[in-house]
């Protein structure tokens, strides 16, 4: 898996078919090895784009396509897309009682491996310990129920833990910086940076430029009112920091 292509993507919320499209013709190509940042005011469709790529059944693609290495994934369910190599660090991760973090991550890893070649438990534990250590997560978080009672920052860190354990080819990280103080932000950014390489591409969704000081993107896209209105390099984010989103084209900036 080396190329993720979004072509003329139009998306509606399935439960609200009368409501206008939230995404109105998105075009975007992400290759492994690249880091993209997706920025823009709140409520303009950033999460919708990430969720639709991942395969959230709440969204309906009304036009366009999503392709991996030239092949459409629109008819694939979310778990299939995940096993193909997509990952979404969610803005609002669900809480699941009674399922421990460790148990879940192991199941996720094993879902990618053949039935007769599941990850040996000791190897898994070693890897989990090392990764949690790297993210400065307390040991007991492995045995806590998945996101249950986690603070906002703990949830974000936990998303990155899953990312680093699962090692996908394409990761979309939706506002992983929200709820993190500057130390936590640095730790999380280091985690993401450790994933960088020829086999890994990522789309970092953020509202603020701050995160991009730590994870320097190759491309920055501005999403406004369901369209990508501008694309540039890392300097575009810096510029936005100074000028804000207001001057960018028309559109309903309700940030």
């Amino acid at each position: 898996m080396t190329k993720l292509e979004i072509k003329d993507l139009h998306v509606k919320v399935k439960a609200e078919p009368e409501h206008p499209e939230i995404l109105r013709g998105i075009n975007l190509t992400i290759n492994t090895g690249e880091i993209h940042a997706l920025m823009g005011p709140n409520g303009n469709g950033k999460s919708t784009l990430a969720e639709t790529i991942m395969g959230n059944p709440a969204y309906l693609v009304t036009q366009g396509d999503i392709l991996i290495d030239g092949e459409s994934i629109l008819d694939k369910a979310v778990d299939e897309r995940a096993r193909l190599g997509l990952f979404l660090g969610m803005q609002y991760p669900a809480e699941i009682n009674g399922v421990t973090n460790a148990e879940f991550i192991r199941a996720a890893i094993n879902a990618r491996r053949p039935k007769d070649d599941q990850i040996p438990i000791m190897q898994f534990i070693k890897q989990l310990d090392a990764t949690m250590d790297q993210l400065k997560m307390p040991e007991d978080m492995a045995d806590r129920y998945l996101n249950q009672g986690f603070s906002g920052g703990e949830k974000k860190r936990n998303e990155i833990l899953q990312l680093m354990m699962i090692k996908p080819h394409f990761a979309m990280l939706d506002e992983i910086d929200s709820g993190l103080d500057i130390d936590a932000l640095r730790i999380v950014a280091e985690g993401v940076n450790s994933m960088r390489g020829k086999e890994f591409g990522t789309m970092i969704i953020t509202h603020y430029q701050r995160l991009l000081n730590y994870i320097v993107p190759d491309f920055v896209h501005i999403l406004k009112d369901g369209e990508i209105i501008e694309t540039g390099g890392a300097e575009l984010a810096k510029e936005l920091e100074k000028t804000g989103y207001e001057h960018l084209k028309v559109g309903d900036a309700n940030a």
Partner: protein, 339 residues
Amino acid sequence: MPETLTLPNAPKIPLRRYLKQTKDDALVAPATVDAPSTVVVDHPDSVVMPATNDFEKWLNAKPQSVTTINIPAGFSDQTPIKLTGPVDGGGLVHITIGENANVVFQERWTSTGSMLGIAVAIDIAAGATVNWLAYDAFKADTVLLQRTVNMAANTTLNLTVAGFSQNSGASLLTTNLNGDGAEATINVGVLAAGKQHLGYATAVTNFGRKTVGHINQRGVITDKAHLVFNGIGHIVEGARGSDAQQENRVLMLSEHARGDANPILLIDENDVTAGHAASASRVDQRQLYYLMSRGVSAVVAKRMVIRGFLEAGLGEIRDADLKQELFDAIDETLVNADA
């Protein structure tokens, strides 16, 4: 049966209708008990059981297999004492646990029959600590079952009921915190499938001062099954410094599954703490989506959510083999329900 029956407090459980049926009346071999020799097991012709209402009288009606178990004061052994119910009938079981004993107990019921009555009474003397597991896996058509626990001062009870039966009927579990400082945690985990109609009334009454009663019920319902959970917490006047908490939750997996969770909290004393929570819900699609977004299949994701849900009811089970057996039973039921 008389027209006007006196019945225990068990809302939404059709006890009146059940009691019109006659109990299987063949005298069967009594329960078997696996215990160290210091524990006295007997099968007398009769035994004094609670008989304050017509439901209890129905349970006590002869012919009836009778088992008494006497665990001496100071007994201390972490190896479970095991009781296995009659293979083809119900009966009465009366257990006394002596002062300061430390006991681990397992009941297991897989009885067949058409209409079974089972009554288990447990008297716990002062200072005793009891870890109790009741594994109900009845194969009978209908079972009416009552467990009554009387706890003296400074006793501790940790009771789990694993309800994995095929029958319809009622399960009443009454815990009386009679002595000061008695503490009971009652966990109930139930899997209801097929056309089962099951009602649970799980009651804890705080009589003594500084007593603690916690009820935790979790039920998963598939197919056309119907499950009712009543949680009844009662703090009587004078039980100062007591605590009554309860949580009753049912998860419905199929369109025709029906679930009810009724918390009932009666508080007749001021200086106490109490709380309750209840819910009847379906599998949360957001949870499934989240789990699946990491690559696990829909089936595995659903099982994880369900097991996780039941964990709160069955989590205290320490017997790893039994826990595995329960999880296997869950998986098997879900596979059948998925098909």
